[in-house]
């Protein structure tokens, strides 16, 4: 089997914020009835996190569960464990109207780190970044491409986009973090 590679192999850039590609990240898209107890248990078993409410991303030591739409979740887990987790979830949800798919290698993940992490994202997105507290996830766009982001902590933004636009996203983030581009809003 071929060796898994992320979009950028963990490359990083130091501007007035640091931009880091997150190498291999396990990501699972789940669609189904978010009110289902069976689904909530499967999510808990997979990530250690509770079922997230509207606009939430909940974390544990094992992974994260994010609310993406009224019938969609994104689970963030260890890359190597994702296939096993999906098998277990598919078995647990066999008699539910649900879909569990491995999208790990279809995505690129970036961290923006520094005091101005929010500002760097705000330069690229129409979302109100100032209201984003850790635990909230926003699906929006950065420049011309869809992206989702949340604050891991006050100085770290985690951003997910399609891998096919990974280079575009990395170039955008580097540009927004260029020294000399500080706004300090």
């Amino acid at each position: 089997m071929s060796k898994a590679q992320s979009a950028w192999n963990g490359v990083s850039f130091d501007g007035y914020c640091r931009v880091e590609e997150q190498s291999l990240v396990g990501m699972i898209t789940v669609r189904g009835d978010l009110a289902s107890k069976k689904l909530a248990k499967a999510v808990k078993d997979a990530t250690g996190a509770k079922m997230p409410g509207q606009g939430e991303i909940l974390s544990s030591d094992k992974g994260r569960a994010a609310w993406m739409s009224p019938d969609e979740l994104l689970l963030i887990v260890d890359h190597a464990e994702a296939p096993g987790i999906i098998d277990a979830m598919a078995a647990a949800l066999a008699d539910e109207h649900a879909l569990v798919v491995n999208v790990s290698d279809a995505r690129a993940v970036f961290h923006v780190k520094g005091k101005a992490a929010r500002e760097v994202v705000a330069k690229l997105s129409p979302a109100d970044v100032s209201v984003m507290a850790p635990g909230m996830l926003r699906r929006t766009r950065i420049a011309q491409v869809p992206a989702a982001f949340h604050m891991v902590d006050e100085e770290t933004a985690e951003l997910v986009c399609f891998r096919s636009v990974g280079q575009y996203a990395y170039d955008l983030l580097k540009d927004a973090a260029l020294p000399g581009g500080e706004v300090w809003v």
Binding site: Q54, G55, P70, R138, R139, T140
Partner: protein
């Protein structure tokens, strides 16, 4: 910039996070309908100066379609509501009437 609250995500999404879907609450006339009805369904759209009901899609968010009631002249937004309805709900009608008592009502 037009800003609408997505009724599914509960976030304020600006126009560039959304995709416009044109006039809301169209009744479909398909095969078997009269030529006039079919033509009206396909091509004839309201274009009011004032209160208007539209479809929008939260395209870079949840991806869901929803409805919005807004004013094409002032860009005022009266509210947004679920896609699963054939006509504007009462609270939206009330919000429009509160601002425009003379408004003739939906239709």
């Amino acid at each position: 910039m037009l800003v609408l609250e997505c009724p599914y995500c509960g976030v304020m999404a600006d126009e560039s996070d959304l995709h416009g879907g044109g006039e809301a609450h169209l009744k479909r006339f398909g095969p078997g309908s009269s030529d006039d009805d079919f033509e009206t369904y396909l091509f004839m759209r309201k274009n009011p100066k004032g209160v208007h009901f539209e479809r929008w899609r939260h395209v870079s968010g949840c991806g869901k379609w929803f409805h919005a009631a807004r004013n094409t002249m002032t860009l005022e937004v009266y509210g947004t509501y679920s896609a699963q309805t054939y006509e504007p709900p009462q609270d939206i009608i009330d919000a429009v009437k509160a601002k425009h008592p003379e408004w003739e009502g939906y239709k």
